[in-house]
């Protein structure tokens, strides 16, 4: 288990550095879309929620998991769609 933890820590740290490198120097115009887009990505918790609610029998874990599925999905779908709506406005201007 500790080996898995170490590997996971490597993944976490390397992904953080990747994030810093990739996102640095975003123009202010895109600050809000970047925030709402990355916000949608943080809804990735939905995967954990799906696993948590995966069991067939009903118990509190499954119920909590299902609530988490709903909340995280609102986060994901709402986040991506609202970002698209915003970026669509930005795009419209560039053309006209």
């Amino acid at each position: 288990m500790t080996e898995a933890l170490i590997a996971a820590l490597f993944v976490f740290v390397l992904a953080s550095f990747t994030g810093f490198e990739v996102i640095n120097k975003v123009p202010p115009t895109l600050h809000t879309p970047l925030m709402s887009g990355s916000n949608a990505i943080s809804g990735i918790a939905v995967l954990g929620a799906i696993v948590a609610s995966g069991a067939r029998e009903w118990n509190l874990s499954v119920i909590l998991g299902l609530i988490a599925v709903i909340l995280a999905t609102v986060n994901v779908v709402g986040g991506f769609l609202v970002t698209d709506r915003m970026l669509q406005m930005f795009k419209k201007k560039a053309n006209g």
Binding site: T18, I23, N39, I41, I44, I50
Partner: protein, 473 residues
């Protein structure tokens, strides 16, 4: 198909799909950083998310398909409705709300896992235990903190900082309670009351974290909560040992921290000062004093007709929008005014301060909604050298971000904050409802300068009047 073959193939397939999804997230975020590719980037990230969800549904632990699909459907419908109904002016609340839901989901993953371990009386490995405790803390703080930010931005509760006696000692004792409870749980992982106590303390900490922070500091708080929601997801990833959650969470955590840093820099304040100083809480009191002390200074007030003449006969106009524009929803009228002025041969630009409004990029989104071409929007560093050659600077609902005291008065609470130097323009028109102070609670010398004229009234009315007056020129 052969069952044995499937059981070998599936886990590998799921992991490889995660790898693709993680790559799509990174690619999507990269594309989100440039105006030309941003929309595509958002779609790329969304595809990554879809792949990750489909792959997880194939996990052999997942048997409860119908209910999960139902949950996904309910969440999708709610999310879609929210995304299409929300007004652009309500975007800060929307981001806050979605953030909170993500944090809540991450925390619930830890709580659900705790319950599963409790019911099965399995031995809880130390690393899972630590991860659960961190997940509950970060997810819980993200949830209640975001909900409170939502309530403040939506106007459900007062947007000004709320402080009470012994606030810091109270917060410290909460933190100590969390640490003590957490340490106890590491030795006795199946203790339900202590775990529930930890959950409650985390939720209360989220409330205490946002309660002393005022509206003008919201861009920092929203960015920081954005970062937390990512870290919460990463913590949930450690709980269920899922690399996809860890990678996505780390990416979001990093992006939130970058934005937080940009916002702090734009206010020339440290994160610590934003979080703990209850900035602007003395607003009402010192605002009154400022107004009283201002009696020896004179303010020149004009009517829209005069304002229209100044604007219409100028060669160059720079419009400086602030939170007042968002509140009055004046962006469409402003665009109309700019169009009218351009038809008369006036060069119009917009100057955007990084922390104008209530979230990073707030003004840009509103002006984009009003179809203002983004080539006309200038960042602070680009526009400041141009104010010298500007005939009229039109300040609409902005205050602290144009206060020259930030440059000249070492005693001012906003001293050192980079500002838009509208006082260097030949003329400045300020549209404002009254002489009240801005968020920082400090009087603005700009209003008393000889070159400055005030147009008192709501941003929307005044700009509409300017439009009709300019048309008659």
């Amino acid at each position: 198909m052969d069952i044995g073959y499937m059981s070998d193939f599936l886990p590998t397939g799921i992991q490889l799909t995660y790898l693709i999804a993680a790559s799509l997230f990174i690619l999507g975020l990269k594309k989100l950083g440039s105006p030309a590719t941003a929309r595509q980037g958002n779609v790329v990230a969304a595809v990554g998310m879809l792949l990750a969800i489909v792959a997880t549904m194939l996990d052999q632990q997942v048997l409860n398909y119908e209910m999960i699909l139902l949950g996904l459907a309910i969440g999708s419908v709610l999310g879609a409705i929210a995304a299409y109904k929300v007004q652009m002016t309500e975007m800060p609340q929307m981001v806050g709300l979605l953030n909170g839901l993500g944090g809540a989901a991450s925390a619930l993953v830890a709580v659900a896992e705790f319950w599963r371990l409790l019911a099965s009386s399995e031995v809880v490995p130390l690393d899972v235990n630590i991860s659960m405790l961190l997940d509950v803390l970060i997810g819980g703080v993200t949830f209640t903190g975001s909900m409170l930010a939502f309530a403040k931005l939506q106007g459900l509760i007062s947007g000004s900082p709320i402080t009470f006696p012994l606030q810091q000692p109270f917060n410290a004792s909460l933190l100590i309670a969390y640490l003590v409870g957490g340490a106890y749980l590491l030795t006795a992982p199946h203790n339900l009351p202590v775990f529930l106590g930890i959950v409650v303390v985390s939720l209360v900490l989220g409330v205490m974290f946002v309660i002393p922070i005022g509206g003008g500091d919201m861009p920092v708080v929203i960015s920081l909560l954005n970062s937390f929601s990512g870290l919460a997801a990463a913590a949930a990833g450690f709980v269920v040992m899922n690399n996809m959650l860890i990678i996505a969470g780390a990416l979001v955590g990093a992006s939130g921290i970058i934005l937080t840093e940009i916002m702090c820099k734009a206010m020339n304040r440290s994160l610590i000062s934003v979080l703990f100083s209850a900035f602007g809480s003395g607003g009402a009191a010192s605002g009154g004093a400022g107004a009283a002390g201002a009696t020896d200074k004179t303010v020149r007030s004009i009517d829209p007709e005069e304002g229209a003449m100044m604007l219409g006969y100028a060669r160059s106009v720079v419009i400086v929008p602030g939170y007042g524009m968002a509140v009055a929803q004046a962006q469409h009228n402003i665009r109309e005014l700019a169009d009218q002025l351009e038809r008369m041969g006036v060069e119009v630009k917009y100057a955007i301060h990084p922390v104008a409004g209530r979230m990073p990029g707030h003004m840009n989104v509103l002006l984009a909604e009003a179809n203002v071409p983004y080539e006309q929007l200038y960042d602070m560093d680009d526009i400041n050298p141009q104010f010298d050659q500007t005939d009229v600077a039109l300040v609409i609902g902005a205050n602290d971000v144009v206060n020259p005291a930030a440059r000249s008065d070492a005693n001012s609470p906003i001293f050192g904050m980079p500002i838009l130097e509208v006082d260097k323009a030949k003329q400045t028109i300020v549209i404002k409802r009254g002489m009240s102070t801005g968020f920082a609670g400090v009087d603005n010398d700009l209003f008393y300068k000889n070159k400055t004229t005030m147009l008192f009234g709501s941003a929307k009315d005044m700009v509409a009047k300017l439009v009709s007056e300019v048309k008659q020129l």
